[in-house]
């Protein structure tokens, strides 16, 4: 069952919200893939009951009667929010994130919170304090990260929609590895209030679903101008679901020139070439763009993201909330040991890198240079978009990989984000969708659009999904 069927069933009173939630919870409790950090039976059932009792108020809402799982990076008032870390294992936020609140208002029912890389730092979900998540297609493989639990949840059909966040590819890469659709919106479209910060200037929340339709409906719920977030943008109100049926006509789509020169697997390239013919079949024109100019984005990303995270994570000091190392006699040791015990290795490493690139004597060569690379990438995209409406490229270099494999070679792991990072640096929207299979594992491509072109991205993906079946495959 996909999102649309589930919502239609609710709207047609074929299934109540309570029944939908009960079914979802039953599957969640049986989960063998370690997809969830917490689930909330009581709260979910009472919310579902409220929706059933007020059916008329909710029938027209974008997510009416549909169970949802939120990435455990979104604060939920009165319910644990761990961010995948020991540091926040027992943390109960006294407030709701805007995303969680918007989704509730839109008629969805939160049933669980999904596993993730610790503080969203990782591309395999293996840095979670609560253990790795398995890929629903092959349990020995990773689901991708950092929103690995959220992608696996929809892929394994435990819910039909889930939320994630994407700082350097954390929605698109796990969507690709799990064979579902995931959208990273324009920076500023979805409020960051209540979303635990990793890299504030790139973090952006977005939807997962099996297809573009589910993503559109969930984005309708998630997106809002929020006075509580200074980087939130006022925009014309667009109904993404309605925009799926609009006709944008023939588009110019940028495709990668000399793709063989990039370190991309043959299977991914084959799927990419096939998708190009799908695009031309839909009446779009292909224009080659030189992607090689964007590859330094990865250097910039691994300076800026750690720099911001080193500062964002300073608040975890064992004083106001969260973990505190026991029995410390002085404040210096309290800080040192709380942070050393409370954070995992990957987080500590990134804090150290970030601290280093901001420190006296290194700031110009690293932080400032990285911000200039970022400017360069934004300018390159501006140039591309003079000639094209959308850019199409693979989401990942390869398919899902084995657990533990790439963790031994961190740079290989970091390069995993090569194709997703540029959109984050420039703040552009991008959508990943399944576009092939090999060895019973999904392959994905992504479309990148101009600022606030989510409607075009969703519409184009939807048109592709009308003529292809990759998004219908289930593990």
């Amino acid at each position: 069952m996909n999102f649309k069927q589930q919502r239609d069933n609710f709207r047609a009173k074929k299934i109540s919200a309570v029944e939908a939630v009960e079914e979802s919870l039953r599957k969640i409790k049986d989960d063998q893939l370690n997809i969830f950090i917490n689930h909330f039976e009581q709260e979910a059932l009472s919310n579902a009951m409220h929706i059933d009792n007020n059916f008329d108020d909710f029938i027209a809402k974008p997510l009416s009667g549909v169970p949802i799982a939120h990435k455990d990076i979104f604060c939920t008032e009165g319910l644990p929010t761990t961010c995948g870390s020991k540091m926040l294992e027992n943390f109960i936020p006294p407030y709701d994130s805007t995303v969680v609140k918007n989704c509730l208002d839109a008629g969805s029912i939160m049933v669980a919170k999904t596993n993730m890389d610790e503080f969203a730092m990782g591309s395999s979900n293996e840095t979670s304090y609560f253990g790795a998540v398995s890929n629903p297609w092959n349990h020995d493989l990773v689901p991708g990260g950092s929103s690995g639990g959220a992608a696996a949840c929809v892929s394994a059909n435990l819910t039909t929609i889930s939320t994630g966040t994407d700082t350097g590819g954390s929605i698109r890469q796990p969507a690709a590895l799990c064979g579902i659709t995931g959208l990273k919106p324009t920076y500023g479209l979805v409020s960051r209030w209540g979303m635990i910060a990793f890299c504030s200037s790139m973090d952006q929340a977005g939807p997962f679903s099996r297809d573009a339709f589910g993503c559109a409906a969930l984005l309708d719920a998630m997106a809002s101008y929020d006075e509580k977030d200074s980087t939130s943008t006022k925009r014309q109100d667009i109904n993404f679901e309605e925009s799926l049926s609009k006709n944008f006509g023939s588009l110019k789509v940028g495709v990668i020139k000399n793709i063989q020169e990039l370190d991309i697997s043959e299977d991914v390239i084959n799927a990419y070439e096939t998708s190009k013919t799908v695009l031309t079949g839909l009446g779009h024109k292909l224009v080659e763009v030189d992607f090689s100019e964007l590859s330094s984005g990865i250097c910039s990303y691994y300076v800026i993201a750690p720099a911001e995270c080193s500062s964002n994570l300073s608040r975890f000091d064992g004083v106001k909330y969260g973990y505190r190392s026991k029995g410390e006699k002085d404040i210096a040791n309290l800080y040192m040991n709380t942070r050393s015990d409370g954070f995992g290795d990957e987080v500590k490493k990134r804090i150290l890198i970030g601290t280093h690139v901001l420190s006296a004597g290194f700031y110009d060569a690293y932080y400032l240079q990285a911000q200039k690379v970022r400017r360069m990438i934004k300018l390159k995209f501006e140039n591309f978009f003079k000639d094209v409406d959308l850019i199409f490229m693979p989401t990942t270099l390869d398919q899902a990989f084995e657990k533990n494999r790439k963790s031994d070679d961190p740079n290989r792991m970091y390069k995993e984000d090569l194709l997703t990072i540029p959109a984050n640096l420039a703040g552009l929207p991008a959508i990943s969708f399944p576009n092939g299979f090999k060895n019973n594992l999904p392959i994905a491509g992504q479309l990148i659009g101009k600022y606030f072109a989510e409607d075009l991205l969703l519409n184009t993906t939807n048109k592709i999904q009308e003529v292809t079946d990759w998004h219908k495959m289930t593990p």
């Binding site: 635990i196 504030s200 977030d229 700031y363």
Partner: protein, 478 residues
């Protein structure tokens, strides 16, 4: 550049001040919690002030406007675009592990204030958030944290090193105090910490081209201590340099009890604040329209008020200057003279009232004197109900009890005796009792006239109208 009258033992002190001013906004710089002093611990703490994960700052427009006001009052440049930075360091009263401040693009730069006819330049003034408070006396083995102050808006005003003596530093600080209280952007209360001061002090030989190495003195919380701390530091540096030592660039703490500055324990490693632009806040443009609207709503500045007092009340420059030294006194004066004689009011405010305030180390607001009551006091002098001498007693009484002037006069029977008949009798008695002196006076000892006046005043407990006493005595003794 050296001014010889400020040399100490042949050394030229060079001083710059960093003044932190707590702004009087309704809410904090980045959170909607109330900005107030003296509330119960941790009751004025918002999600943002607590530094919870996922919360985000949004700039308080009121604080920005107050910063602009200060810039306008000091003829400074107001930034077209200001940018907030993060200053990273760990301390238990700093919930986020960084302070949001402005390093490279402050709201105000290149201002100037006049201190006793000399220009002191202001390098910049920037907006930043205050930290919470940690206290150490509640438990033997623990410190406690109150975050009520966390996020309170501060304007940090950084002077150029244009100050040449400790007393000039005090005068500069008083000038800043005068400006911020006139602008109503801060109460400037040093004892409550709403105005705090750090001083950068170095010394050099008058012929030197470069400044000496400076020490930064922290934690100076009164005008008096500013002078003492700087003077101590100057002497300390002279002692070092004259013994061929070197002054270390360091941060020192002023200890007002011992009256000395001492080095803050040098940490194992130098701190490195790792400033970078705060990604949660976008650069803020300050438009001409905004500046204009702030200008329109700006209160009169000290110099403007002084000029007006001279022209519309006919006060001389000195009196107008003293009365306008602080806004409270100036406002008090204006209320008093609505119903009282201007010159007499000025004389009494500058003289007796100021003396009382100084004696008790209080300001007007803390005292029991209100303008209406004080105005009545002046009126009673003008209409001869009481003499100046009695008026002093009445002032003492209302200072102590806060009672109404008319009640004090009535209940103590202090009305001046201006009835010639009544005084005639008193004078008659006194002259009869002192026939020797009367004879001596009449034989030419003019000085005894004062003696008779004194006797009359004594007999009437000072209530006799002095002018009348003079008149009657002269008549009787002639």
């Amino acid at each position: 550049m050296a001014q010889n009258d400020t040399l100490i033992k042949g050394w030229q002190p060079v001083i710059g001040l960093e003044v932190h001013v707590q702004l009087m906004t309704n809410t904090k710089l980045f959170s909607p919690a109330k900005n107030q002093f003296g509330e119960d611990a941790n009751t004025l703490v918002d999600l943002i002030d607590l530094g919870l994960p996922g919360v985000l700052p949004v700039l308080n427009e009121g604080a920005m406007k107050q910063g602009i006001k200060f810039g306008l009052a000091t003829n400074a440049k107001i930034a077209e675009t200001m940018i907030f930075d993060r200053k990273n360091y760990f301390y238990p009263d700093l919930p986020k592990g960084y302070q949001i401040t402005q390093l490279h693009y402050p709201i105000v730069r290149d201002g100037v204030v006049m201190v006793n006819g000399k220009k002191i330049r202001i390098h910049q003034a920037h907006l930043e958030e205050d930290a919470g408070k940690s206290m150490h006396d509640k438990y033997d083995d623990k410190s406690v944290i109150d975050l009520n102050r966390s996020g309170v808006p501060l304007l940090e005003i950084v002077s150029e090193p244009d100050i040449r003596s400790a007393s000039e530093a005090v005068n500069y600080l008083k000038k800043i105090h005068q400006i911020i209280t006139y602008l109503d952007i801060s109460d400037g209360n040093m004892s409550q910490g709403s105005m705090r001061c750090d001083a950068n002090v170095s010394i050099m030989k008058p012929e030197d081209k470069e400044f000496g190495t400076r020490a930064e003195i922290k934690n100076i919380n009164s005008f008096k201590f500013v002078e003492k701390a700087i003077n101590f530091e100057i002497k300390r540096q002279i002692k070092i340099l004259e013994a061929n030592g070197t002054v270390e660039q360091e941060t020192r703490l002023y200890d007002s009890i011992k009256d000395e500055t001492r080095s803050m324990r040098t940490k194992e490693f130098a701190n490195d604040y790792r400033y970078f632009p705060c990604p949660d806040l976008v650069p803020t443009n300050i438009t001409e329209e905004l500046i204009e609207s702030v200008k329109e709503n700006m209160d009169e500045l000290p110099e403007e008020k002084q000029d007006r007092f001279m022209s519309s009340y006919n006060l001389n420059e000195y009196d107008a200057g003293v009365i306008c030294a602080d806004k409270e006194t100036a406002n008090f004066f204006e209320k008093v003279v609505e119903n009282a004689d201007v010159q007499l009011a000025a004389k009494w405010i500058i003289g007796d009232l100021n003396a009382l305030l100084n004696k008790h180390d209080m300001d007007l607001q803390e005292s029991r004197i209100d303008a209406e009551n004080f105005s009545e006091l002046i009126q009673k002098i003008t209409d001869n109900t009481i003499s100046g001498k009695i008026a002093k007693e009445v002032l003492e009484e209302i200072w102590n009890t806060g009672a109404k002037v008319s009640e004090v006069i009535d209940s103590k029977g202090m009305q001046q005796i201006s009835d010639a008949g009544e005084l005639d009798n008193t004078i008659e008695i006194i002259l009869n009792e002192n026939t020797d002196q009367v004879n001596a006076y009449k034989s030419g000892k003019d000085k005894l006239f004062g003696f008779f006046v004194g006797q009359v005043m004594k007999a009437t407990q000072g209530k006799a109208n002095p002018r009348l006493v003079n008149e009657l005595l002269k008549k009787k003794l002639s």
